[in-house]
Each structure stands twice: as structure tokens, then as C-alpha cells.
Amino acid sequence: MTTLLRPFLERWIRERRSQLEEYRLMLRAFGRDWLAVASLAIILLFVFGAVFAPWLTPYPEQGRGEPNVLEKFLPPSWQHPLGTDNLGRDVLARILFGGRTSLSIGFLVVIIAVAIGTPLGALAGYFGGWLDEAIMRLTDIFLAFPSLLLAIAIAAALGPSFTNAMIAVALTWWPWYTRLVRAQTLSLRERSFVEAARGIGVREGTVILRHILPNVMTPVLVQATMDIGSAILTGAAMSFIGLGAQPPTPDWGEMVNLGRIYFINHPWLATFPGLAIFLVSLSFNLLGDSIRDIADPRTRRAAR
């Protein structure tokens, strides 16, 4: 099998040598950027915690929401490193399980936004004309509203639930990607390799898929990484006002909301989930920032 594959693999590597070299340089630059490494580590830590939550805590049922009222409001201790909440549930377990909701809202919102925004942007930028006009005016409509307000309105109309909150936030975010991709496409369209492709009769659809989209993915990726943090924050804000995940499903924003009531006497309730939101969204922001610097050869070299 390997002998069969080897020639293909070698050819693949040969053809993409310069590209791979580029990735290697990026990786090295990344390794030198301690802030980026730390951010990635924090993100991976939380993702790991969310994925393996049932095995990481002795109280998985409490993490999922089962009350244990006899132990309510215990301050942090060895049994409960981050204390217990109003129904006696281990806060650490809640945060681990809450990560499942909060992180997935972050990733899913951005994935949906990219999935809607990128093709629309590419179409608008590539074809121009009335299509461009229509799509751009549509984005204007969405961007005219403050995004959190629009998300709240959509979620309130759909009814409070995790899925609806996600859809609501994603619906307010895609226009940014449309604009980003359109701007990139506009300049790519005039580049000679695109003209060449069109010149030899490649179909329009293929030009967009093979020549335009791969070249706009870097800025989209950077934007997406930075946005995950904000998406988590927005998701938390939605849960905070009761429009997100419904209790007893754990969610960081919801935990902060609940903890707020008890803040004076039991500050750990709001503080730890708040810290989780803070760390994760900050990390995604810094990571996105680093990726942008690294992906651009000019800033990468300047940073050396």
C-alpha cells in the first residue's frame, strides 16, 4: 500500500514544496510567539475539558444538572475546588460541562456564518452587477442593526433555546464574512491567474471554487479565529439574559447570570464561569491576531 502511495505522495510534496515551506515557516514563527502558544494551550485545555468532562470530574451527573441540595453554597474546598452552586452542584463540573455548550456555540456560530457569508461574498465580488448590489444591500440591512440587539430579537422571536440562540447569533454575523470575501474577490478577479483561467475556458463556477476561494481562505480563517472568542461572549450574553441554553443544561453565561444574584455572599458562583468566558474569548482573540501576523509574510519577517 505504502509503495503504491509513495509516488503520489512524493509528487504531491514536490508540487507543493514552496507551500509546505511556507507552512513550516509559519509554524516556526508561531512557536516563537509565546502569547499565541499560551492561547492555543488554554483553548485546547478547555476543549479537552469539555470533551472529556464526564471522566474529569467525580460529579458528572451534577455537571449535567442533577441537584444535590444538601451541599449548596459550599465555598471552594478539596472536594469542590471551585465550590458548589445554589442547588449544591459542583461548579467545576458545571464549568466543564458548560464548556460543551459555550464552546460549541462559539464554533458553530462561526462555521454557520462562514458557510453563509463566504459563498455570498465570492458570488457578489466575482459577478458584480445586480447580484452584487442585491447581496450587499442585504448585508447593509443586517449590519444596520446592532448585532447583539438583532440576535436578541431573533432569539426572542424563535423562543429561547440553545439552537435558536446559535442561529440568531450566526444570522447577525455572516455579513462580515460576505464583505471580507467580496473585497478579496474583487481584487483577485483582476489578477492574471484568474484571467488566464477564464481565458482558457474554465467554467465560472470552477474559477470561483478552485482559484478564488482558496485564496480568500487565509483572511477568513484569521477573522474566524478572532470571531470565535466574540461568538462565545455573545452566546454567553444571550444565555445571561435567558435566551440561550435552558437550565439545567449548563452554560457559562447562564452560570454568571445565576451567580450574579448571589454575588455578595457567594462570589465563586459568578467568578469562575466568568473567568472561563474571559480566558477562552481572550485566547481566541490573541490566537487570531497571531495567525494574522504569521500568515502575512511581511509582518512575519518584521516580527523576527
Binding site: 445554589n86 450574553a237 445565576l258 454575588f263 455578595i264 455572599n265 474571559f278 481572550l282 482573540n285 494574522r292
Partner: protein, 534 residues
């Protein structure tokens, strides 16, 4: 690198936002402290009130506005606080009587009572007030439904002819819709009277009159010098109702002494608050309970055995002792503790999962295997906690409880829709308009053609007969009425038509130097400042 700092800035903004979500509110200075030029403390009381006052028109007021209205206006009769030998005491009426079958009531008015506009109280004013309330048809006006005609017998005697027997003395003591006001004062405003009231005016005869009103923020009342009860030194000349929605801020205010009375504080903090030498926490029955009406029309809760089974699956004691920190009492049926018609003899379901399993098996659901939807008001933490705790217990029986927090309007709309499509369990609080068991027993369990508050869709002619008869007798033979009401409640409990989670207790935090404070659950969260002194 400038991009990096920009992003760090963004992240910092995020942090600030987050922290403002988390913890900045408690550090906000109490509004009373900063904004008011410290008034002479000895004669001003401050009530830090958790809600604003929706409508202070005495004919409309049907909500927390009662806290204000009760200090401006008076009723013919007052309902006494619990544990007093008499249920009622005279208000603007010195005495009253009814005929044998309680269809004709005569009230003899107090003489020498002046309204705030200087006019005198007379029978005409009583007729005018009640008729205005009835004709406007808003708020609690429906409590006057039995009234056929109001007759002015002489200046100080007024007679009510009723369409059917009713306890008019209890109705006249209601904290909603029974206020008496000056006809001249209201007429002077013509059509716009309601608007004028809500701009901060009143036409009452009570000990206080409105001095200023900033809607949604602050209302100041000042003493009415010609009040018929007279004034003694030490009584409050002025009362400030400060609207403070945040419980932690209210707690800080009462601790700092910038508020004299408040309520609705985090229960966990009450014991510590009470231990302070300068604050007293009063705990009293609340005439209010938390119920979970079961949908008796829709399977599987149309089966009495299933209803009983889930009634056995709520850990009443544990919930009350821990989650609500003991500030509640498990209910005996739907009429709450401290009210007439409440009976300690009624059966209570206890937490007994074995019994529940047995009943489920009898009903044909040995391993549960069905799903129930419980709706509640999303913002209410206690209702939510009831749901979360019950969900865990029902899961042990193989029943999947979906706890659905909704806005009250949405919850109620769903409840009023087709019972077969509606929720299985409707969790809500109930409190009376006027203090009669009938308010609880009729509204939530009497047959309804179109659903209003009978949100479990229960209908039993025998039960209806008992409570209707009880209501007719409430005015003339209260002991017999009470017996009938208790018999009717026994039916509800046997049939397990609702979860009777607990009766609430009211807690009010009052500064220790305030004298004369007595809570009266017939007028929820009303503080009669005239009775207080410092």
C-alpha cells in the same frame, strides 16, 4: 504590532463587559445615598421597593402599586393580620351588618373624615367610588360582581343590594378595587382622571398624600394634617418609596440605614441580616402558594394514579429546608397557611419514591417511560429550582421532565390553548384578590368553559357545588362556609389535581429603631406607615 494592541484592547473591552455582567452592580452606590440631600432623619421613612408602581389610580390599582395606594386611601373595612381574634376591623365604616342570607349589606360610616381636597366623607362618596371602579371595569373591579345596586340611605349610611349572597365585608376589605375617594376631586379631572392620578396625584382620605412622583423611580408621600385619626409625635411626616430593583443594592441600603423597610432579599442572606443589631427581619405567612396544576385532560396525567405518583416524587422537606432555606411551609391543600379555610388536617403528599413506583406500576407504567412538560415563568428562580430538583427525582422513576421557562404571557397563552396540546404541568403562584378561600378554590379548580386560570382543566360538579355553597355562606355563616371549603379541598388532594409545593412566607427587613411594624398578608408588602414611628 499595532494590530496586536488593538486586539488586546478588544479583549480588554470584552473583559470589562464581562466584569460589568458579573459584578459591577453591587458596587453601585444606593441611589438614595447620592441623590437626596439628607432629609431630617427623624420623620422620614424610606421604603426600598423592588418594583415600580404600574397604576396608582385607586379604581385600577391591582398590583405592587398597592404599597403606595394603601397609604393614600382607605377602605370601608380592614382585614386584620393573622392571629387576631377578629377577622375584620372598622375602616371608614364604623360598623356594618347584613341580612340573614347575605344579600343586603349596610355600612354605617365614620363621621368627621376629610378627603385630601377638603371635602367630607359621606355615603354619596362611597357610592361614587365603588360605582366608578365597577364602571371602569379594570383591575380588580370584578370583585364587586355580586352588587346589584348601591343606595344612599342617609349621609352616613350606605346600602348594597346583591344579586346573590356574597361576603361583602371581605370584598370591601380588599386591597384592590375597594378604595374610597372624593367624588369632587375625581370629577374635577373629568375624563383624564386616570392619567392625572398617575402623574402623581390622589383623592384619598388616608393619612398621607402624594408630594412628588418620578414614575418608575421615586414617589414621596407627605402627611395629611387633617387626617381623622390625628397625629402623634414620632410618626413619620414623610415617606419615600424608592424603586430599587437590584436585591443586593436593597440589602446594602437597609444595612447602611438609607432605607428603613424593604423585602425580596436573597434568602440566604436573611439570617445574617437578622443577626445585625440594627435590622429586624420579620417572617410571616404570605397568603400565597406555589402550585403545579396538572393537566387532567391529557394522558398520562389524566390518570389519577400517575398524578398521585408524581405528587409523591417531590422532595418537599428537603427542598424547603435547603433550597428555600426554610422560608416556606409545605402546603396543606390549596388554601395557604394563616388564611381562614386553611386546614392542617388535609392530607399531604410526602417524598416517597417507592410509593410512587407502586402507583406507576398500578397505572401501567412500571418503568415510567413518558415525557412531561412543565412550564414556569423564566425569571423566577424558585420555580426553576422546583423544576430542576423535580426533574432529577422523576428521572429516577423513568419520567423525563422538560422544564420550560417562558415569559408569563407565553406560558399563560399556552395554558389557555387546547388542553391536549398544552403543557402537562403549569407552575405558578396564586394569591387572593380579597381574602377568601374561594379565590383559590374557584379560580384554579372550578369548571371553566373557556380556560382562564383553571390551567389544569379540572372539572367536577360536586366540587363546584361545595365551593359555590361555601361562597354563598361566607357572608352569613363563616364557620359552615369554612367546613365546606375544607371538604372541597379534600377532593382536590385525593384526586391529586395539582402539586401543592409550599405556602410562602413573607420576609420584610426593617430597621430596628422602627416601632409598630406588623405585617398583614391580606395586603401583600403593604407597609402602613401611619402605624409606625421612630
Amino acid at each position: 504590532m499595532s494590530r496586536r494592541s488593538l486586539s488586546a484592547l478588544l479583549a480588554l473591552t470584552a473583559l470589562t463587559l464581562l466584569l460589568s455582567l458579573v459584578g459591577c452592580r453591587p458596587s453601585t452606590p444606593p441611589p438614595a445615598a447620592g441623590e437626596m440631600p439628607a432629609p431630617p432623619k427623624e420623620n422620614v421613612a424610606v421604603y426600598a421597593h423592588p418594583t415600580s408602581f404600574p397604576d396608582i389610580d385607586p379604581s385600577i390599582s391591582y398590583s405592587n402599586d398597592s404599597a403606595v395606594v394603601s397609604n393614600l386611601y382607605e377602605t370601608l373595612v380592614w382585614y386584620n393580620p393573622p392571629m387576631q381574634p377578629q377577622l375584620l376591623r372598622p375602616g371608614l365604616a364604623e360598623r356594618w351588618e347584613s341580612n340573614a342570607d347575605a344579600t343586603e349589606w349596610t355600612f354605617y360610616l365614620r363621621k368627621g373624615v376629610k378627603f385630601h381636597d377638603g371635602t367630607d366623607l359621606n355615603a354619596q362618596a362611597v357610592k361614587y367610588s365603588i360605582e366608578r371602579t365597577i364602571n371602569m371595569g379594570m383591575g380588580a373591579s370584578y370583585i364587586w360582581d355580586p352588587v346589584e345596586e348601591i343606595t344612599v340611605v342617609d349621609d352616613f349610611t350606605v346600602r348594597f343590594q346583591l344579586k346573590y349572597p356574597a361576603p361583602l365585608d371581605l370584598i370591601a376589605a380588599s386591597g384592590y378595587g375597594s378604595w374610597i375617594f372624593s367624588p369632587a376631586c375625581v370629577e374635577a379631572q373629568g375624563e383624564k382622571a386616570s392619567k392625572w392620578f398617575n402623574e402623581g396625584h390622589d383623592c384619598g382620605s388616608g393619612p398621607y398624600t402624594i408630594e412628588s412622583y418620578e414614575r418608575g423611580r421615586r414617589l414621596v408621600i407627605t402627611r395629611f394634617d387633617d387626617y381623622w385619626g390625628g397625629w402623634k409625635p414620632g410618626q413619620f411626616n414623610k415617606v419615600v418609596f424608592e424603586v430599587v430593583e437590584d436585591p443586593t443594592v436593597r440589602q446594602q441600603m437597609i444595612e447602611a440605614g438609607t432605607a428603613d423597610v424593604t423585602y425580596d432579599l436573597p434568602r440566604e442572606n436573611l439570617a445574617a441580616l437578622d443577626a445585625r443589631p440594627d435590622v429586624v427581619v420579620y417572617t410571616n405567612p404570605a397568603f400565597q402558594n406555589l402550585v403545579g396544576l396538572l393537566n387532567v385532560r391529557k394522558p398520562p396525567l389524566d390518570n389519577k394514579l400517575v398524578r398521585q405518583a408524581i405528587s409523591y416524587a417531590f422532595p418537599y422537606d428537603r427542598f424547603i429546608q435547603t433550597v428555600v432555606s426554610g422560608y416556606a411551609v409545605q402546603s396543606h391543600g390549596p388554601v395557604p397557611l394563616g388564611m381562614w379555610g386553611h386546614s392542617e388536617k388535609l392530607f399531604q403528599y410526602t417524598y416517597d419514591l417507592d410509593k410512587a413506583r407502586e402507583l406507576l406500576a398500578q397505572a401501567g407504567y412500571p418503568n415510567g417511560g413518558f415525557k412531561l412538560v412543565m412550564t414556569h415563568v423564566a425569571g423566577d428562580l424558585d420555580e426553576r429550582q422546583v423544576g430542576e430538583v423535580w426533574k432529577a427525582e422523576l428521572a429516577k422513576l423513568g419520567i423525563d421532565l422538560e422544564v420550560r421557562g417562558m415569559s408569563w404571557e407565553a406560558q399563560w397563552d399556552l395554558g389557555k390553548s387546547d388542553p391536549m396540546q398544552a403543557q402537562d404541568i403549569f407552575v405558578m403562584y396564586w394569591w387572593p384578590d380579597y381574602v377568601s378561600p374561594y379565590s383559590f378554590l374557584y379560580s384554579m379548580f372550578h369548571c371553566e368553559e373557556e380556560t382562564l386560570f383553571n390551567l389544569g382543566y379540572y372539572c367536577n360538579p360536586r366540587y363546584d357545588e361545595l365551593i359555590d355553597r361555601g361562597n354563598e355562606l361566607s357572608g352569613s355563616n363563616r364557620a359552615e362556609a369554612e367546613r365546606l371549603f375544607i371538604e372541597a379541598q379534600q377532593i382536590l388532594v385525593d384526586e391529586a389535581v395539582s402539586l401543592f409545593f409550599y405556602d410562602l412566607v413573607n420576609t420584610h427587613a426593617v430597621r430596628a429603631d422602627i416601632k409598630g411594624y406588623v405585617d398583614n398578608p391580606a395586603y401583600p408588602h403593604v407597609v402602613f406607615f401611619y402605624e409606625l414611628s421612630r
